[in-house]
């Protein structure tokens, strides 16, 4: 986009607006960092020379099994994303490559899940999970999300944009349907997988309501629920501890995003999500 023609004042204005908005947007994070590294006394006082401390982190780490919550969340997220990849890839492949009479209708029916998220049906899904006997397991948190209409929709789009010739060439060489999928379609849809995967990682890392309802013990509870339980105590809010806990819980995701943000944005551009 040509900015060149714009005057210096316009450019300055754009910069100022962009930066002001950016600062406003990271303010909560900045506050979290500030409060977490200072003694409780400074939670509401901004003194540049306040003493620094790591006590809050130590206290948080000792007060709740955050290490275990971490493992739970990582396990959950990895499982959900991989299972979604498998389930959605299979369905999308069927829709894109093996259409049948009424498959467009079935696809529309699938898209209902886009709007009717598991959260809307939490009362019924809760009893389904209970009757399956998987309450308080990672499976209980994951199951309602595995057949993701969003994923099927994206992968189907990506598969449809794969040139037919490639598919045919592979089949000429004697590749079976699964081999064609794995050798032709999936590699070409990589940006879509990356983009979708990242969105889902962020989604499930942050998911709260459903895991809150179906988990019950330290060994399954994801970090958001651990954090939620940890911060709603009778005593009231202890900001230094909570901000430290927040930083602990988002740390890995934030670092990962910092490292991969370029790839992340680019994969979005290439994925054709638009």
């Amino acid at each position: 986009m040509s900015v060149d023609r714009r005057s210096a004042t316009t450019r300055l204005a754009i910069n100022v607006v962009a930066w002001a908005l950016a600062l406003l947007w990271v303010l909560p994070l900045l506050y979290a960092v500030w409060t977490a590294i200072h003694p409780p006394l400074y939670a509401a006082r901004f003194d540049l020379f306040a003493p620094l401390t790591l006590d809050n982190f130590v206290r948080v780490w000792n007060a709740a099994p955050f290490d275990r919550y971490f493992l739970n969340t990582i396990g959950l997220v990895v499982f959900v994303v991989i299972a979604q990849f498998v389930v959605c890839t299979m369905a999308a492949y069927a829709f894109a490559v093996y259409p049948f009479r009424g498959s467009e209708w079935l696809f529309m029916l699938f898209l209902i899940q886009l709007m009717v998220m598991p959260e809307v049906l939490l009362v019924r899904n809760y009893s389904t999970i209970a009757s399956l006997g998987v309450m308080d397991t990672m499976l209980a948190i994951a199951l309602p999300y595995l057949a993701s209409a969003f994923g099927i929709f994206l992968f189907r789009q990506a598969f449809k944009s794969v040139p037919k010739e490639l598919d045919e060439a592979a089949r000429m060489e004697g590749a079976g349907p699964i081999q064609v999928l794995l050798r032709v379609y999936v590699p070409l849809a990589r940006p879509t997988y990356l983009a979708y995967g990242l969105v889902m990682v962020a989604y499930h890392w942050n998911n709260f309501l459903w895991p809150l309802i179906v988990t019950n013990s330290v060994s399954t509870r994801p970090i958001t629920v651990g954090l939620g339980i940890f911060s709603t105590v009778e005593q009231g809010i202890d900001w230094p501890t909570i901000t430290a806990a927040t930083l602990v819980s988002i740390g890995p995701l934030l670092v990962a995003f910092l490292l991969f943000q370029r790839q992340f944005v680019q994969s979005f551009m290439r994925s054709g999500i638009r």
């Binding site: 099994p65 809150l212 019950n216 709603t232 105590v233 009778e234 005593q235 009231g236």
Partner: protein, 430 residues
């Protein structure tokens, strides 16, 4: 005795005979508990459980930390419905009617047999037992009990020329002292409020219960099927709460959030704050000024309100489990253990003999504020408890908030709430 029962006894006897021949005879107990105050309390509970298992090698306790009270109740009910009930759980004292209605608990008194058991039972403070006694049965053992107290900033008292050792004893004094403590800056903005009573949805009904008791009223009866929201005593109590901000201007307007009230107090925004005893260690650790803990004032009866959780034994556990669960309950509510739990958490040990233990005596000497709660208990009333407790409480909270924010008058709000509570509760009257 019917055939079915006979069969069960035979089977039970046979089973016990078979099991006792094997070396690995053990009862597994599932124990659900919430943690409501900060600190590494799961480790403390794990320590108690380890000690219990050491004393009772034939019992294994699986202690599950299950979030806050609401979460724990949810878990316990869900687990029971799916046929896998916990044997014992710490749940809100006010959940009692819900648990009876859901038919999931067994009265504690059915396990009382020996003189020792009777002595154990007699050791609880009557005020705390009262909320667990329904239809001639005792349904739960008091465990982590709290009460509401008034924290006050002694330095603010001195600055206002008040006697820091003489906190207000009546509503009139409360207003008077509150006025002296309310400080404005040059441009007329209040920098320090005299008093703060949290009115957010998780606290309003509780602290309002104290105001009502002080005014000589009550919110619900002991059958859990009737509320008295539109009683003149109750309406007056709400009018007083509103007057604190509207008429006397000693209380911030709008709803004071329970979660931020301790910070409000420690930041000097509130000179006096109503909160739970469970907050004592937090305030002690973080307040930068000298503070006191006062019992509640009266109009004319000084009164506070009780809160917290009791130990319940679940009905659908096996007989062996229930017997083991009763042992566990007795262990968890021994004088020494409750004393220790009180020191670790700030809860009020609900047994008189706990307060006679060396540990608690030493603690009270070090933290005299802790004793205020105990002295106040005789004057305290159980918190509102009815069938469909959560829903009725919500109805009351909505009414309180509507009136506190000036959206309706106390009379209107409480009459509407009473009508709604009647609609909900009439189904539970036989």
């Amino acid at each position: 005795m019917n055939l079915h029962k006979l069969n069960r006894i035979l089977a039970g006897g046979l089973g016990a005979a078979l099991l006792s021949t094997t070396a690995a005879f053990a009862v597994d107990l599932t124990f659900y508990y919430p943690v409501q105050v900060g600190g590494p309390l799961t480790q403390v509970i794990d320590g108690y459980v380890a000690e219990f298992e050491k004393q009772n090698p034939d019992i294994n306790v699986d202690a599950i930390y299950s979030g806050n009270y609401t979460d724990t109740t949810t878990r316990a009910l869900a687990a029971t419905r799916s046929g896998n009930p916990p044997a014992v759980a710490v749940l809100l004292a006010t959940d009692i009617f819900t648990l009876i209605e859901e038919d999931v608990i067994t009265p504690i008194d059915t396990f009382i047999s020996t003189d020792e058991d009777k002595a154990w039972l007699a050791g609880f403070m009557p005020a705390y037992l009262a909320s667990a006694q329904i239809d001639g049965h005792l349904w739960a053992a008091p465990f982590q009990r709290s009460t509401a107290v008034m924290y006050y900033n002694k330095e603010a008292f001195k600055a206002a020329g008040l006697d820091a050792e003489q906190p207000p004893r009546t509503w009139d004094e409360l207003v008077e002292v509150g006025k002296a403590l309310t400080v404005k800056d040059a441009s007329g903005n209040v920098t320090q409020w005299g008093l703060g009573i949290p009115g957010s949805s998780n606290a309003a009904h509780w602290l309002f219960g104290a105001l009502v008791a002080q005014n000589g009223g009550q919110l619900s009866d002991e059958t859990g099927t009737r509320t008295f929201f539109d009683d003149p005593k109750v309406v007056e109590a709400l009018q007083f709460w509103i007057d604190l901000s509207e008429k006397h201007a000693v209380h911030p307007t709008g709803i004071l959030e329970w979660g931020t009230t301790p910070s409000d107090f420690m930041e000097g925004r509130l000179a006096m704050a109503w909160h739970t005893t469970g907050n004592l260690s937090n305030i002690r650790k973080n307040a930068t000024f000298e503070f006191g803990v006062a019992a509640y004032p009266g109009n004319p009866n000084p009164a506070s309100v009780l809160g917290g959780g009791n130990l319940y034994i679940f009905k659908d556990a096996s007989e062996e489990q229930k017997a083991a669960a009763f042992k566990f309950v007795q262990f968890m509510t021994s004088a020494e253990l409750l004393a220790d739990w009180g020191i670790q958490t700030g809860y009020v040990a609900p047994r008189d003999d706990s307060w006679e233990t060396e540990a608690l005596k030493a603690y009270v000497k070090e933290v005299p504020q802790a004793d205020v709660a105990r002295r106040q208990i005789a004057d305290s009333k159980p918190e509102i408890s009815t069938f469909e407790s959560a829903r009725v409480t919500q109805v009351l909270n909505d009414a309180l908030q509507a009136a506190l924010t000036g959206r309706s008058t106390p009379q209107e709000a409480l009459s509407a709430a009473q009508a709604e509570a009647e609609r909900i509760l009439s189904a539970y009257r036989n």
